[in-house]
Assembly symmetry: C2
Homo-oligomer: 421 residues x 2
């Protein structure tokens, strides 16, 4: 047997989530990670709605449940209820049997299966290859899914002006208005973007005119405004306008079940016959990728969504989280105002939901990591839930010092290796 590996050329993948590693290795007692993937309680623990824990226990004690393979499209009661939650129970698309869900391995699984499907079957006959528009910073985190699926012409657009952190609908709108006819537009987490219905209407009108195909991503419906329908307004508007679309839906954040990866790929099309053809193709893709979805997460979510009493309880839990998030946003803004930190911090309360663009420069992010043991991701998105009553003062004071140090020029930034593009 030869001693040389046939895998000599395989390169090492550098890990992207370096702040997480730095945070893990930092022994400082006051260290803070502002980039948790999910909801945290004020005690700094992973949040899970009480109803979810109860149903988990109930399912484990159910003697009628078996553990046989699910159908490749998953649990129908779950995908049906999930689809209704997103596009509205009374949606004409549902009543006309031309909207349906496909149970996937989490939101990423829905994105992957959807991206692969579009790459293979979306043929608008206008542009070859099809251009795909994806917002920054989702381009960094999710762009690779579309790239691996086979998209070669991936273009960024912006919801937010990088400096003032105000909405730049008009700019993004302009970009879409000039997109090649038939391009695909990936619309991320509409519930958190902060566009108003009027602005979404304008975006939809442009997209209709240019025959652009919408691929929505709904990661935390209910965690922006606390109202499930309000958070899905944009998606429901597009469906109401008669668009064909895909929507990757994830429940990890709203149910606190990150490790069970319950996702749903919603398909809305022109008629029932097309829906069936599309679902059959998605089923085939699933068979070759993971055979069928895993069940526990979908069983819990399906149970909650299909019971009016449990649904009510879950909605209450969501509302409490949203109130906590708004309170933290207000408190942080107020602390920075009292400290007299230079700059406007209005965006903290103008945005809503768990994730937020904090609005610091790269040098300030680096200052926080190096001098204050506070870690956030390069893309400037922080998880508001990572801030709690124990670390709020420290975080505000540290941001204040970071802004002062860098704006006064007494912080000698080591630019080596810092990407300024």
């Amino acid at each position: 047997m030869g001693t040389l590996s046939v895998f000599l050329d395989v390169p090492l993948v550098k890990k992207a989530d370096i702040p997480l590693d730095y945070y893990g290795e930092d022994p400082h007692p006051q260290k803070v990670l502002l980039g948790h993937a999910g909801c945290q309680t004020d005690a700094g623990e992973a949040w899970i709605p009480p109803v979810v824990q109860r149903i988990l226990l109930q399912i484990s004690q159910d003697p009628t449940l078996n553990h046989e393979y699910l159908p490749e499209l998953g649990i129908y009661e779950y995908t049906r209820a999930a689809t209704e939650l997103a596009i509205g129970k009374e949606s004409r698309a549902l009543l006309e049997n031309r909207a349906g869900g496909v149970h996937t391995i989490g939101g990423t699984g829905a994105l992957w299966i959807g991206a692969e499907f579009l790459c293979r079957w979306y043929k608008p006959r206008f542009s070859t290859p099809t251009a795909l528009y994806i917002a920054k910073p989702q381009l960094d985190s999710l762009g690779c899914i579309f790239q691996v699926a086979g998209f070669t012409d991936i273009r960024p657009y912006h919801y937010w002006k990088p400096v003032s952190l105000t909405l730049k609908t008009l700019w993004g709108h302009h970009k879409l208005a000039n997109a090649p006819t038939g391009s695909i537009v990936f619309l991320h987490a509409p519930e958190e973007i902060g566009l108003k219905p009027k602005e979404w209407e304008a975006v939809a009108a442009t997209m209709e005119k240019k025959q652009l195909f919408p691929f929505f991503n709904i990661e935390s419906q209910g965690l922006a405004s606390g109202n499930l329908d309000r958070d899905a307004w944009a998606l429901q508007h597009f469906v109401g306008q008669g668009f064909e679309l895909l929507c990757a839906q994830s429940f990890s954040r709203t149910f606190g079940l990150y490790d069970e990866l319950a996702g749903n790929l919603i398909v809305v099309t022109k008629n029932n016959e097309t829906l069936i053809r599309i679902q059959s193709q998605l089923g085939r893709q699933i068979c070759t990728t993971w055979w069928c979805p895993s069940s526990l997460g979908a069983r819990v979510i399906g149970t909650v969504l299909n019971s009016p009493a449990l649904l009510y309880e879950w909605k209450l839990s969501l509302r409490m989280v949203v109130e906590r998030i708004m309170l933290i946003r207000e408190k942080l803004k107020e602390k920075l105002r009292i400290l007299g930190t230079p700059g406007s911090w209005e965006h903290l309360t103008a945005q809503s939901g768990m994730c937020s663009f904090i609005g610091l420069q790269s040098s300030q992010v680096e200052f926080l990591a190096k001098h204050k043991h506070i870690y956030l991701f390069e893309n400037q998105q922080i998880n508001i839930c990572s801030i709690n009553s124990k670390n709020l003062d420290y975080v505000a004071q540290s941001i204040h010092e970071a802004v002062l140090a860098t704006s006064l020029g007494d912080y000698n930034l080591d630019l080596e290796g810092v990407d300024r593009s």
Copy 2:
């Protein structure tokens, strides 16, 4: 909004598992499905080891467990124990840190991630494109995974002579001996194929000489002989010989947890540094396909494999299933002997494990479905566990009639649509 769908060209995928549908729709009280995916009890219910049900309950009541995302490579305690189970705790490859596992969404997920990895990174520099050998009937069921992953030169080989159902090692061996240097050989379920150690040694020697790359698939380790190490003899021999290899490992059958999809992709390579590079690439693939694996199945399996007492109990359960399977094989053979059914039925007891080539012609399979309400798959593989004390006599009698009817020529076979290739 136009009324024409952009998905007009998407074809409907015809479902492959038609016997399952026919069985489901058949109202006949004596109907039998000989193609269950998993282990069945004698009462015709899905089998699950008692220890698994206990641990499921225990996990649901554990207050220290959280539901945060797992790392992309999954639960280390699970992949480590699973890898040890397959290649042996004392394997030099493990002691030298050049063998490791990657937690996947079931066995199919392991196959998919492995196939995609090989397609991208396996460059033996001998043959372009790399030929992939895959045994019939796995070609029908799993070939599409490799095809979608990008393999274009997929070739079949046979373990069994189609007519006599005796092992045809020499023939398969001859085929491999003539394979292009550097080809990949997919070795399915070595525990069920029935090759003897001497025959595996010869296959390994040929593969070493031709520098063929082995990709093992272990679906039911322990369910062939009842002895875990004996069932993995071939894999352990290849590892011991210094081969670099991949192995997709699945626990659905042996733990009865089909709906939780716990898989493991075992990588054995030349040194630790190569293993780390390969695992980093597999991690990247996982991030774009399902983000991270789901946890419940792996938590249960990891708990059992890492506890000597629970492991002992699980092994006992496996042994009981194997004894039941051997008993059914013997009883069925004996019934056919007493009935005087033409042909040799020795292969029923010469093979071992849950799956078996039954050795009927297509016309006989069709007779069983049409006249006896007994359904099996086109590929002639039946699940021995689908036979129980209630249906054994009926199945034997029906097989007898099917063989007689077709060999006497009084069964007028409708050949239309039947694939005779």
